[in-house]
Amino acid sequence: MTSPHDKLAVTLAVNGRDYRIAVEPRRSLADALREDCGLTGTHLGCEHGYCGACTVLVDGVPVRACLMLAVQAHGRPIRTVEGLAGDGPLHPLQEAFRDEHGLQCGFCTPGFLMLAAGVLEREPDIGDEALREILSANLCRCTGYQNIVKAVRAAARRIKEAAGRG
């Protein structure tokens, strides 16, 4: 007879590296990333899907890591804010957030970066209204959002320019 406290073997493929961990079924993906993988870039705000601070990419799509169980992410490609720049230079989104003052305290920033990264990869030519609607998914208490929108727009331009050169 299995107990709900029995740990399950789960492999999380985060930013191209496999993390073999053992977690209870109730462990959220967000907690597993932070506590079991040591990847504390993913922040937890509300833990019920409202604030978006914990947004990560699973299969390339932005999701709330607090509303997904770690066991559900077994074997699926996950990207977190740690993977944006890796050991290299900052990702264009990170540069743009810095340049446009798209952050102040920084708590919500990893969630916004991953939300924007997921969206720009899927829709590089996204319009202003659609982008604002998508960014409304996440909460920021410092910036008033305008600079976040500016930063994502600036990053979208830089990514396109870089692709044009490449």
Binding site: P25, R26, S28, D31, T55, Q72
Partner: protein, 288 residues
């Protein structure tokens, strides 16, 4: 803000899922997108002893038009409706409505059928199902039954589904080009739960309403059609006066919930307004 302990079961076939439900449906819960269930578990409003994960049952991941119906498999996500999933007024209505459902990341995980099973009073999909007359296809080891949306939603978070049953599919009628659809929702911010919303489908001939389906959600404990408003509209020319009469009929018929967002009088007022606007939207550009 962590769920209570549960055992986790992830079958890969529908038969295996139905076997799990037959055996442990009473104290278990099916998870699909989990965008409503997991918050409830985190708040410990829901404490299932077992969690049955539907995501591996690939045979339920479909969305297709067939025989006059849009067949929405249990794993079809909200995001699949960002573009019209079928032609005509039904597809247009669904693509309009989906933009009001929570936020983009939530729509990547949450499922249409999961919203129907959850039966939140303010669920846009439940309102669409009630208004268009969806058929909910429920399967158990004992067999399959099709439940009309009018009989399915019983109260807030309460449906006709038995603990051993699974929604395998929801079917929506694909309306022909003689129909027009409209939707209007009021919420405090983009993505918030709607406080009042109305969905309408009208069949119009020569500028006269021949059939009317008007549904209101977020106002009462479950979304429902509004017969008085529908009767007020049928036989009338498409015009502001008829829309106002239908909106008045809605306001007169609903028994609104009260919560911290809105008292009954305010919800009644909103229901009148969302109804009028949904009707105007449906008939916009048609020479009304």
């Amino acid at each position: 803000m962590k769920p209570a302990p549960f055992s986790y079961h992830a079958p890969s076939t529908l038969d295996a899922m139905l076997a799990l439900l037959a055996e442990g449906g009473e104290d278990g819960k099916v998870i699909a997108g989990g965008q409503s269930l997991v918050p409830m578990m985190n708040f410990r409003l829901a404490r299932p002893a077992r969690l049955f994960d539907l995501n591996g049952v690939a045979e339920l991941d479909f969305l297709r038009a067939e025989g006059g119906w849009l067949r929405i498999g249990a794993l079809a996500r909200h995001a699949a409706f960002h573009r019209p999933p079928c032609g005509g007024p039904t597809g247009a209505l669904l693509a309009e409505v989906v933009r009001h459902i929570a936020h983009y990341p939530i729509r990547q995980r949450g499922t249409f059928a999961g919203s129907i099973a959850h039966a939140d009073p303010a669920s846009e999909w439940c309102l669409v199902a009630a208004t268009l007359g969806a058929e909910i296809v429920a399967r158990s080891r004992a067999g399959e039954r099709r439940i009309g949306a009018g009989d399915f939603f019983l109260a807030s978070l309460s449906t006709a589904l038995r603990p051993d049953e699974l929604i395998v599919e929801v079917r929506l009628p694909i309306l022909d080009a003689g129909w027009r659809t409209g939707f209007c929702e009021f919420s405090r911010r983009v993505g918030d739960f709607g406080i009042a919303m109305t969905a309408v489908a009208l069949r119009v001939e020569s500028g006269v309403v021949r059939e009317a389906r008007i549904g209101v959600g977020g106002v009462e404990d479950h979304p429902a059609r509004q017969p008085a408003a529908e009767q007020a509209l049928v036989g009338q020319p498409v015009a502001a006066r008829a829309f106002a009469a239908a909106a008045d009929a809605v306001a007169g018929a609903v028994r609104p919930m009260e919560d911290l967002h809105a008292d009954a009088a305010y919800r009644r007022h909103l229901a009148r307004t969302t109804t009028r606007r949904a009707l105007e939207q449906a008939c916009a550009g048609s020479g009304s």
